[in-house]
Symmetry: D3
């Protein structure tokens, strides 16, 4: 769309996880997932960054009201994952290996229905400063 | 273009702003813009990040001389906004609500005429570490 | 005190300010305070960092409950300065030039009475990443 | 000591923890420790920062060989906590509530015996960018 | 590709460089490259950020095993450039002016053959926090 | 002094260096200094952070005019080290191994004579985000 502006909002959450495939032994998991398969889990200060794209509203100068985006991120994602164990405590990650990739996909699907259609451009999950994943939706 | 390189330059400025629609009352503005509509204004340490895209010059190894980009950013944007009030002091924001989106659009239009045609790829304005907007020009 | 632990909590606020001495002309103020004396003000994303020092409580492992410190910082300082004009909107800065130094002194005095006696070690105010001030109380 | 130089080395680790007092109920723990007492734990990207103080060696220009400090931090601390559960997996935290304060004390005691006597000045543990604790030894 | 996830890995290296065109005089080089043409060189803490794009493996939840990417970055790039002089010590930069642009192109070409075909999306080189370049391959 | 405020100013420079003891062989230097003794040098994005301590001036609210400190840092230190080789190009480091410690000591001595007597509290040199050194003067 001509004159598209991309607007970003970032937020923080703390969570623990363990990466493993239940079909494999602890030894096989350790070989594939390294320290990330430690049976008692470990954790991260994660960041989520949501990008909404569109043209600005002439009256407000906003693509979207970021206060509303902040509230959606809080209610549909952060409230379920902050200070939680991603393997045990999160309904929308049930049965999913909580890799950075899968958290990004799940976060996109949690948030998209509450943003005006087609405007959610991407969701990034930072596991550390040095590792992160971005998802732009099931159709791109 | 084949072999495109994207080169980025970031710079800092401090400014104050107030978000409001002059057609509304203070109460209506407070409802839409929250604390950002405080009548005496508030402020930010903004960052601007300019991206220029193209192929490298075989002699210099540069897409563009970043020293020149730095000077254009200084003369066409930073000199007008640093240590200023974005509502009162900036000609190219006159009559515009100084949202992050509108600052990004205005910055792009200030800088584009001074960069070789078609090479200015994007301008980002960071209002805080957690909120920022990107504009890629009127035709994209 | 033997076995002292220093515990820190950082938080963010956005505010605008103008540095000037009302006894001087605009020209004299510009000479002393530079761009910071712009009559319409400018602004910053400030950070405040509070340090509390003491021995840990054997039951909780805490020097102090940081959730309580967070609430004191919110009620006694952030609520008065976030999204405000430090020259016009803040009672405890009335008649004070809002330099980083003076904001640090004022913040220390706002917070100290609500922390167990003698335990507030220092308050830092970051005006930008590159400029900040620390105050350790009127007696040190 | 005259001419003292303070030299710092920072490193990262990921771990999970749960704050709770085993003498209390889950409800009482939730009241004191908030989200940090979630029974399945949560986690952080922690940083440890070690400071060694002394005069420089005239031949090398070093207070201490930071490569040696890096190795001590690795062998005596990081190897035991990185990608671990601080409640279940770490011998030197057995029976201790893994608050930031207690991790800093434990890290100091793990590292001090391997640094030339009296030269370990402080250990900081960053739980997040906004919360951290510093310990300077049992005698200060 | 539908359902593409972009996964990023960042790493650090320290190196020195001098920018200059051997066909020019020192004075001409100083005019074009400024302080960067100082004959004895200068240096940077560079960062490289590699992005791999693809769909996730249903068993592991990975687009790619980042431990493998980390090892490829180490063996094919970091081992040759960390703590080196980019003009004198690096075979794959022989005869190339070590601008940020050219380092990004060279890093992409070093790493691409070791990543599953078509999956290496981009390589970024950060020369400083404020200057960086991105390359997405010879065909885009 | 009662009511002391500590005020900090940070600035950036890029430089290359090689750590070595001229009395030793390349092999011996490699053993002591590791990659830092690479004969062609390597480099860093250094930061210098200057702290001045004192009481505030009642008229200005300043401990010291940071614009003046900025100029002293520029003229007495940054102009000599930015975009330079610390082994070859810097008079005040002649004959000194350019470790982080020694750069901090030299920077303190360069700047102290130009700050009101006794007010320069400390100088920090950051070699990377993870390694830095602080000096507080020859008498402390």
């Amino acid at each position: 769309m001509k004159g598209t502006v991309y607007i970003y909002r970032k937020a923080h959450f703390s969570a623990s996880h363990r990466l493993f495939d239940p079909a494999l032994t602890d030894e096989q998991n350790a070989e594939i997932f390294g320290g990330c398969s430690n049976p008692n889990g470990h954790g991260h200060n994660y960041y989520i960054e949501v990008c909404v794209a569109g043209v600005t509203d002439p009256a407000t100068g906003f693509v979207v009201d970021l206060k509303a985006v902040k509230q959606i991120m809080q209610e549909r994602f952060l409230a379920m994952v902050d200070h939680k164990n991603l393997n045990a405590d999160v309904d929308f990650l049930r049965g999913v290996n909580p890799t950075t990739e899968n958290i990004a996909i799940a976060a996109f699907r949690q948030i998209a229905p509450h943003i005006p259609a087609g405007k959610l451009y991407s969701v990034r999950i930072y596991e550390t400063e040095n590792n992160y994943a971005e998802y732009r939706g099931d159709h791109s």
